[in-house]
Symmetry: C2
Subunit: 463 residues, 2 copies
C-alpha cells in the first residue's frame, strides 16, 4: 500500500487540488499527525481541497490506490478521530469555511464544515437566533468536527447535542460518490435516516462537505447561579430537586473539590468557595424574563433544600462572567496538578452520579492517582480527569489500569464510556466493555456497506 | 417459498408461541392484511409472541425457511408499512403492551412497543411529565409503530418528532439476534447511532421490542388561539411574523377553506368562521403562566399585522376544546366530500407553503378534483387530501396523475414527499423523485447489511 505513495501519486493529487494545496513537508505532517489527544501517526500527505468536487476526486484517487484517507476539521478532539493510524492522506476541510446562508424565515443555517462553532453562534445571535450546542472548544472547533463527533456541552441537558440540530448533509462517500441527505425541512421520513447515521460516525462513513442546521430563537435573558455544597451527594440531591420542581436549566455544571482547589491555585487565590466546600454547581436558566425570574427562585429553593452552604445569583453580566470563570479556567488549571491529563467523558443516568463519584474515590485510593472531576450533571456526563506525570512510567501504568476499571464501573452503572468525545482509536479497545459482540458485528457490516475497502479513517471505533 | 407455509410450519410456530397465538383463519388474515391505507396482501399466518425471546425465535424460524416477516403495531399507518406485500407471517406485537418504568429522577420511560401513545402520555402527565409527540392517531396508534415510522404531529414544530425522544431500543434483527442500542442516558457516542437508524426504518431493519423514551417536564399552562384570514398567503404571513417575533408555538395548525366547509357540513352548522374566510390558524403556546400570557399577546399582534379578519383566544378549557374541535373533526369530515381519501403528508420549507397551495390549486383545476388541505404550518408539513369516489375509475386515474404531479412539485420546492407517514409500499414508486440513484443504492446496501436474505418487511421503501 505504502509503495503507491510516491512522487507520481503526489503529482496526481496536485492535479486535483493544485500543488500548493498538497503538503508533504515534515512540519505539516507532524502538525496533522496529532490532535488534542497528542498521539497518533503522521500522514504521508495533507491535501486541502477547495470544494466538494475536489474532495470527491481525492477520495476516488485514494480509493483506486487503496490509500487510507483521514478527514480532519480543527483537530480539537480528545480521542484521535482526526489522526491517522496507518499513514495515508489527511483531507483537511479548512478551505470549506463559509456560512452559506442564514434563513431567518425557516430557522435554518447552511454552512460548510470548517466554520468555527463560536463564529456561527455569533452570526446567528446577531439576528436573534440561537445555535445551542456549546462544546468547551467552541472557539476553536469547527461545525464539521462537531457533527462528525456529535459534540455536546453544558447546554445539552435543555437543548440536546449537535444531533438535534442537523437537518441535512452533503457527504462524499468512500466510493467518491456525493449524496445529499435530509434538507431544509424538520420532518422528512423518506428512506433511512442517513443524516443521523453520519452524525457521530467519526469520519468513518463519509466526508461531510455541507451541513444544514436547525436554529431556534435566542432566549432573551439568562439567570446564572452558583451553589456550594459539603459534598457531591448534596449537589446531586439539588439537581434531583430541581428536576422534581420541573425546571430544566440551560446548564447544570458540577465541579468537585479537587477541581476547585486546582482552579484556586491556578488563579492564585486562597479559596473560591466557603471553607469545607466539596462540590459546586453552576446553574443557568434562560428564556423570557418573567419565566426566568420564577425558575431562578425555584432553583434557589431546590439548592437550599439539599443543604447548600451558599447560593449566589449574578446581578449583572459582569457577575455572570465571574461565576462562569471558574468553569472556563478548569481545563487549564488541571495542569497545576500534573502535566498530562487522561480526560474521560463518561456518562451515567444522573441519579447515579454519586455512585460514579464513589467509584472514582475508590480508584484514587487503589491506584494512588489524582482524579479531579467536573461536568454536566444535568445529563450525567462527568469529565473524569486522570492526571499523570508523563515521565513516570509506573504512574502511567496505574492510570491505564484505573481507566479500564472506570469504564467497567460506568457500564455496570448502566452508563456509557463516551458521552461527547467519541471513540477514535484511543477508546477503541474499550468498546467491547459496552457493546456486545453482535452489536459490534452489525456496526462492522454497516461500515462495510459504506466503505467496502476500509479506506476511510481506518483503525477507528472498532477494537 | 410459499410451499414451506404448510401445517408443519404452523406447528413449529405454535411450539414457540403456543397454538392459541398462531392465527390462520380467514377473518384474522383479512384483518391483518390491511391498515389505514386499506390495501395490501393477506398474511399466511399471524403470530402473537409474548416477549422478546419469542419474537427472536419466530424470526429465526422464518429466516430458516426464507418466509417473509411483517412486524405490526396498531395498523393505523397510511402507507401500508404493517401490511404484507408477499404474504408470509405477520408478527403482531400486541401482547408486548406494558409500561415498564417511569423514572422521574432521570426523566425517562421504558416501554414495550404496544403501549398506546395516548395512554403513555396520560401516565406520564399524572406525575407532571410530558411525552410531546402527538400524531392524530394517538388514541389508537402505539409507541412501537410511532418509532418505526417516526411519527410527527402538531407539536413537532416546538418539540420535535418521535426521533427526538427515543434514547434506546431493544431490537430483534432479521438474523434473530437481539441487540440493545443507546440507553437511559441522553449522551452516548459509542459507535454508530443505531438507535436513530431504526427510528423511521419502517420495520425493515429490525423488530422493536423495548423502547427507552426521554420525557420533559409538563408545561403547566397553554393558551389556545384561533385566527381567520382571507387566504392562505395571509395565514402563512402570520406564521412568518410569529417566527420573526421569536415565538415558538407548541402548535401552528393551518386549515384551508375547502376543509373548513367540509367540517361545517359534517357538524351541520352554517359556518365555522367569518364570511370570506379562506384559511384558519389554530395556535397554541405553552409554558409557565407569565411567559405564556406574553407570548399569546405577541401571537395576536403577529396575526393582526398579517391582516387576520378575527382572532379569538380561549378563556377556559371548554373554549379551548371548542377551538380544537374543528381540527379534530377534520379527518372524519372529509368523508362528506368523497368516500376515498388519498392523504399525502408532504413537506416544504415553511416560507414556501403559499407555493405549495398554488400548486394544489393548479392540480384542482387541471385534474378536476377536490383537494382540501390542512396541516402543520410551523414545519411546512401539509396534509394534501385528494378526494375520490372509489367507483369512478376515471376520477381515480386523474387522482393518480395529480399525485405524481404533487410529488414532483414538492421536490422542486426543496420539500419532501413524506413528513410523517413514511413510504411503506404506497409511496415506494415515488422515492426516485426525491432520492438519487446513488442514495437509493446506499440505502439498499445498508438494508442488506442488516437483512441479507430480505426477509424482514420486504417490498417496502424501495421502488
Amino acid at each position: 500500500m505504502r509503495a503507491a505513495l510516491g512522487p507520481a501519486f503526489f503529482t496526481k493529487l496536485a492535479a486535483i487540488v493544485s500543488a500548493q494545496h498538497v503538503k508533504i513537508d515534515d512540519a505539516v505532517r507532524v502538525a496533522y499527525g496529532a490532535d488534542a489527544l497528542k498521539r497518533g501517526r503522521q500522514p504521508d500527505a495533507v491535501v486541502l481541497p477547495a470544494n466538494t468536487e475536489e474532495v470527491a476526486a481525492v477520495v476516488r484517487l485514494c480509493g483506486r490506490h487503496r490509500i487510507p484517507i483521514v478527514p480532519r476539521g480543527a483537530g480539537t478532539g480528545y480521542t484521535g478521530g482526526a489522526v491517522p493510524t496507518h499513514g495515508g492522506v489527511v483531507i483537511s476541510l479548512e478551505r470549506l469555511n463559509r456560512i452559506l446562508e442564514i434563513d431567518e424565515a425557516n430557522l435554518v443555517a447552511v454552512v460548510e464544515p470548517h466554520v468555527v462553532t463560536g463564529a456561527l453562534q455569533a452570526a446567528v445571535e446577531k439576528v436573534g437566533l440561537f445555535y445551542p450546542p456549546d462544546p468547551a472548544s467552541l472557539n476553536e472547533s469547527v461545525i464539521g468536527g462537531n457533527v462528525a463527533e456529535c459534540a455536546g456541552g453544558p447546554r445539552a441537558f435543555k437543548y440536546g447535542t449537535t444531533k438535534q440540530y442537523v437537518l441535512g448533509l452533503e457527504v462524499v462517500l468512500p466510493t467518491g460518490e456525493v449524496v445529499r441527505t435530509g434538507g431544509k425541512v424538520v420532518k422528512n421520513v423518506v428512506g433511512y435516516d442517513l443524516t443521523h447515521l453520519f452524525v457521530g460516525s467519526e469520519g468513518t462513513l463519509g466526508i461531510i462537505t455541507r451541513i444544514i442546521l436547525r436554529l431556534v430563537p435566542r432566549p432573551p435573558v439568562q439567570a446564572t447561579l452558583r451553589a456550594t455544597f459539603r459534598d457531591v451527594e448534596a449537589a446531586v440531591q439539588a439537581v434531583i430537586n430541581i428536576i422534581r420542581a420541573r425546571v430544566v436549566p440551560a446548564a447544570v455544571e458540577l465541579i468537585d473539590g479537587d477541581s476547585l482547589e486546582a482552579v484556586a491555585q491556578y488563579l492564585q487565590v486562597r479559596s473560591l468557595a466557603p471553607g469545607g466546600t466539596g462540590a459546586m454547581l453552576l446553574l443557568e436558566v434562560d428564556g423570557v424574563p418573567p419565566a426566568v425570574a420564577e425558575e431562578a427562585t425555584r432553583v434557589e429553593s431546590a439548592c437550599a433544600e439539599a443543604g447548600a452552604t451558599e447560593v449566589l445569583r449574578a446581578g449583572d453580566e459582569a457577575e455572570r462572567q465571574e461565576l462562569w470563570r471558574v468553569r472556563r479556567e478548569l481545563s487549564r488549571s488541571l495542569k497545576m496538578i500534573a502535566p498530562l491529563k487522561y480526560n474521560h467523558d463518561v456518562v451515567v443516568p444522573k441519579g447515579r452520579i454519586p455512585s460514579l463519584f464513589a467509584l472514582v474515590h475508590r480508584l484514587r485510593e487503589e491506584y494512588r492517582l489524582r482524579i479531579p472531576c467536573f461536568g454536566h450533571a444535568g445529563d450525567g456526563n462527568i469529565h473524569v480527569n486522570i492526571m499523570v506525570d508523563p515521565n513516570d512510567a509506573a504512574e502511567i501504568a496505574r492510570a491505564h489500569e484505573a481507566e479500564r476499571a472506570l469504564f467497567e464501573g460506568v457500564v455496570a452503572l448502566e452508563g456509557s464510556i463516551s458521552g461527547e468525545h467519541g471513540i477514535g482509536f484511543a477508546k477503541a479497545p474499550f468498546v467491547p466493555l459496552e457493546l456486545t459482540a453482535e452489536t459490534i458485528a452489525l456496526m462492522k457490516r454497516l461500515k462495510r456497506a459504506f466503505d467496502p475497502d476500509d479506506i476511510l479513517n481506518p483503525g477507528k471505533i472498532f477494537p
